[in-house]
């Protein structure tokens, strides 16, 4: 593993818009690397700069140590899978795949062998003479992959390759892409706005926002330890709390009427307006008196009718269930506590119909371990818009919550608007 593909201080402006803003990035050989972000974050522009379709205003692109910034697209050893596949409609599947080799004037025998190998890889030997408009979307996708891979590119660029497929096909292609990557061992640079795709495929992800890299790391690093509110809310779902860091907890100190056994200086107390104090792991050595934001993933929270027994580093707060969505494998709750509306995901690991599930309007306790909250370095209020909100209509019997609907709801529930 070496530093193989490098973007050095690359910028690209379109008029006043900074599409890519001084980005530096290195990708290792053989890596599956994703650029993830919402539309307009510059991920596609960065890919097009590497492909050679766009010239950067500043900076340079190095491929295997060689500066390729000024090379035209047809002289770069990279190939692209386009979002629209961009297959040649007048050529058969076979001719589409052979195109790159024919243009490179390779010997006929070599072309035949290489195309046959690719057709076998994508399992379309029997469709070789069909035209692109005679095959399905998933097959077009596979032909596009074969057409690029047959040229043995040093990097394969994938621009939202699954966006045009339906959900079922997307999941199948996801697995296929992963298998192909393992098989050919080429570096993949994958551009997507879908965090699920990026998480399941990538070795590393660069989360982009407004032309800059917001955070770079493995999928687990990015999910578990988001650096900013943007990353926390864009990848998966989360809850934000803001407060002032207070002194670390004394031994056997009392927190919210309960005994806390905290001694460690690694844990800080977070004072929140009109809210019980929270304890959180302070790995960033943030000093007392500083205003910080805390992010907690909904699935890290536990919800219960009974107050949980006190335990070291356990945060416990009380609230009322405002919304419930039953999703089969899990149920999502929105719980109101003061000004906060907290989302909680409960996985159903046991047979649900044997239990009496928590319903709208019930008073519940939410608890989590102090380690599971994560202090953010950067926070922007508008990132809260990325957080998933409960549905507008509450209390209706829908297919999604019909199991819960069998038990009469204890009292009416106010339809929720986001509290903050």
């Amino acid at each position: 593993m070496s530093e193989f593909l490098e973007f050095e201080d690359v910028s690209k402006h379109y008029g006043p818009v900074k599409a890519v803003d001084h980005v530096s990035l290195t990708v290792k050989q053989g890596e599956f690397f994703s650029l993830l972000g919402p539309s307009g974050c510059g991920k596609t522009t960065l890919l097009r700069i590497l492909a050679g379709f766009e010239q950067p205003d500043t900076g340079r692109v190095l491929l295997g140590g060689e500066d390729v910034t000024d090379l035209p697209p047809y002289e770069r050893k990279v190939n692209t899978i386009f979002q629209s596949y961009a297959l040649f409609p007048h050529l058969s599947v076979w001719d589409n795949i052979a195109f790159g080799l024919k243009v490179a004037k390779r010997p006929k025998k070599e072309i035949k062998e290489a195309v046959a190998k690719m057709l076998a890889l994508i399992q379309m030997e029997d469709q070789a003479w069909k035209k692109p408009d005679q095959i399905s979307g998933g097959q077009k996708q596979r032909v596009a992959i074969a057409r690029a891979l047959v040229n043995k590119p040093r990097v394969l660029l994938l621009d939202e390759p699954l966006a045009a497929l339906d959900l079922k096909l997307r999941q199948r292609m996801l697995i296929e892409l992963d298998l192909i990557h393992d098989e050919v061992g080429i570096t993949f640079l994958y551009v997507t706005h879908d965090q699920g795709e990026a998480m399941s495929l990538s070795d590393r992800i660069a989360v982009m926002k407004l032309g800059k890299i917001e955070q770079l790391g493995t999928p687990a690093e990015i999910y578990e330890a988001p650096r900013s509110s943007f990353v926390a809310a864009f990848i998966g779902d989360t809850n934000f709390f803001d407060g002032i860091v207070a002194e670390p907890l004394e031994k056997n100190s009392v927190l919210d009427g309960f005994l806390a056994v905290a001694v460690d200086k690694d844990y800080s107390r977070l004072k929140i307006e009109d809210f019980p104090d929270l304890e959180c792991y302070n790995d960033k050595q943030i000093k007392e008196g500083e205003h910080i934001f805390l992010s907690i993933r909904p699935e890290k929270l536990r919800i219960s009718r009974e107050r949980p027994d006190p335990a070291p580093h356990l945060n416990v707060i009380e609230g009322r269930v405002e919304d419930v969505i039953y999703l089969g494998s899990q149920t999502k709750y929105w719980v109101r506590t003061g000004d906060y509306r907290i989302s909680v995901i409960r996985q159903h690991s046991r047979f649900l119909l044997d239990e009496k599930p928590i319903r709208w309007g019930e008073r519940v306790w939410i608890s989590w371990h102090a380690d599971d909250g994560f202090m953010l370095e950067k926070y922007s209020e508008q990132d809260e818009n990325l957080i998933q909100l409960p549905p507008e209509e509450v209390g209706e019997t829908t297919e999604a919550n019909q199991i819960l609907a069998r038990v009469p709801a204890p009292g009416a529930v106010a339809a929720g608007t986001p509290a903050r």
Binding site: A51, G52, F53, P72, P73, Y74, E75, V78, N79, T80, F82, Q83, S84, A86, L87, F88, P89, H90, F99, G100, V103, A104, K131, D133, R147, A148, N151
Partner: protein
Amino acid sequence: MKPSRFPLIVTWAVIAFFYIPIVILVANSFNSSRFGGSWESTSLKWYIRLMNEPSIWHALTNTLVIAGAATLISMVLGTSAAFALHRFAGSKLQKLHYSIIYTPLVLPEILMGLSMLLFFVALKVQLGLATIAVAHVTFCLSYVAMTVLARLQDFDFAIIEAAQDLGAGWWTTVWKVLLPMLAPGILAGGLLAFTLSIDDFVISFFVAGPGSTTLPIKIYSMIKYGAPPLINALSTILLTITFLCVIASQYLSNRGRQAA
């Protein structure tokens, strides 16, 4: 409510209005009588007479040479124009360009013919086949440009990028991808241009010189000397060529559209 029959009746009336004269003309071309009023017997005699009329063959050759040249030139120029119009759509220059390309479709032909004549005379150009062909290009290229432009509207330019991405330089991309994909559109436009050139009378009349009589001009002069049955036969042949071109042009546009 029962759907009104009115639109259907109107449609048939319009079709009858358009085509009855043509049907009469075609039928009369097979009538052995000299006079259209009475039917003698079915015969190919006028067609045979036509075969032995060297001046008509000369005029037909002229027409086809002019139409062929005008079509080829306007296919090249029209396609280039369509590209410029599509690529830089929205710029002031291209809006002007669009009006210039569009104008010949609506401009009175007599005006175009007259201005072309004045232009050639001012330049002291010998009137002949070349001047007719050039004059035909001025309007033919508009039809090619419009047809190709329509094709470009639903053309996925990622395909051009894909070709370059796969190692094709600019010329390879044009030859291997762009032209094959646009060929149906270019051909359709070309066929349309061909039919228009073949039966253009007004413009040809202005810019024709000695020895460059085209078929429509020949027909016109034959009417003056009065040989209607021969003209019927000639018109039928002309009509057949035109219809075949239009059908081929439509087929090409449809097939191209499905493929794109």
